[in-house]
């Protein structure tokens, strides 16, 4: 059960963010910023199916995290979820076609390591 919940938190949560990214890339940059253009951005974003899929996955990940925290220790759960940074880079390549060059990979790995250290300290 713990493994299943971790998978939903890490893979489901990251997939949710990737889906939200897909929605935002579909509507593109809003250009000049104003309260009006931000509202337009929101209005467009919520008319893209990817946005709803993403928010659904993020909600599932959130409730799985709560369930996980009620079963396991925070000092175990949170460092493991730092794997999301690596999963995110892989999914960004596969599903969004982003170019993750060696420098970005190294940065992502360092961030993951740093987050683990922060939570262990």
């Amino acid at each position: 059960m713990t493994v299943l919940l971790l998978a939903v938190v890490i893979i489901g949560g990251t997939a949710g963010e990737v889906a939200v990214t897909r929605a935002m890339k579909a509507i593109g940059d809003v250009g000049r910023l104003s309260p009006r253009s931000l509202l337009t951005m929101l209005g467009r974003a919520f008319r893209v199916g990817w946005m709803w899929l993403g928010l659904g996955l993020l909600a599932a990940a959130f409730f799985s995290l709560l369930a996980l925290l009620s079963r396991e220790n925070v000092t175990f759960v949170v460092p493991v979820t730092a794997l999301s940074y690596v999963v995110g880079a892989v999914m960004a390549r596969w599903f969004l076609g982003e170019r993750v060059d060696p420098m970005r990979w190294l940065g992502v790995l360092l961030v993951m390591l740093g987050v683990v250290l922060v939570w262990m300290g």
Binding site: E17, V18, V20, T21, M24, K25, I27, G28, D29, V30, G31, L33, L38, M41, L42, A45, S84, Y85, G88, A89, M91, A92, R93, L96, G97, E98, R99, V100, D101, M103, R104, L106, G107, V108, L109, L110, V111, M112, L113, G114, V115, V116, L117, V118, W119, M120, G121
Partner: protein, 141 residues
């Protein structure tokens, strides 16, 4: 021809910077508001309406919610302009902000391992922000 890389990076970076600060601020305000509201509710008796009123009239809670709305807007804005694999690691600098704020303003004790983690995150964020902010498609206006 797309906008020069420096300008594109700037347009992607400031929403991330705001995201980091408003996210941290929102978390702190929500935690403080929840503590105040819960404490006041218990002291004032257990009538549901009284408890609800304490939650609904707590200024920290509302400011916290407002901060998180700003956070979410900046997140969407950042994702519309930059790679997911750029925004996510870069926004891990929130750990640095939260640690520094806790240390300076709240006098929290920060262990050596935690400081090391903060340094490693800084190095990682620095490397990620050396790469091109957006590597997909053409920039749309």
């Amino acid at each position: 021809m797309a906008a020069p890389e420096g300008i594109r990076r700037g347009r992607a970076v400031w929403p991330i910077v705001l995201m980091v600060w408003f996210g941290a601020l929102g978390d702190v305000l929500l935690a403080r508001g929840a503590r105040q509201a819960a404490g006041a509710g218990w002291r004032g008796g257990s009538a549901a309406a009284v408890v609800l009123a304490h939650w609904l009239t707590n200024r920290s809670l509302w400011l916290g919610v407002a901060s998180l709305i700003v956070f979410f807007l900046c997140y969407l804005l950042a994702l519309s302009r930059a790679d997911y694999s750029y925004v996510t690691p870069a926004s891990a600098s929130s750990y640095v902000v939260v640690t520094l704020l806790g240390w300076m303003l709240l006098g929290e004790v920060v262990t050596r391992v935690r400081w090391l983690g903060v340094l490693v995150i800084c190095a990682g964020v620095w490397l990620v922000t050396r790469t091109a902010a957006c590597t997909t498609g053409g920039s749309r206006q």
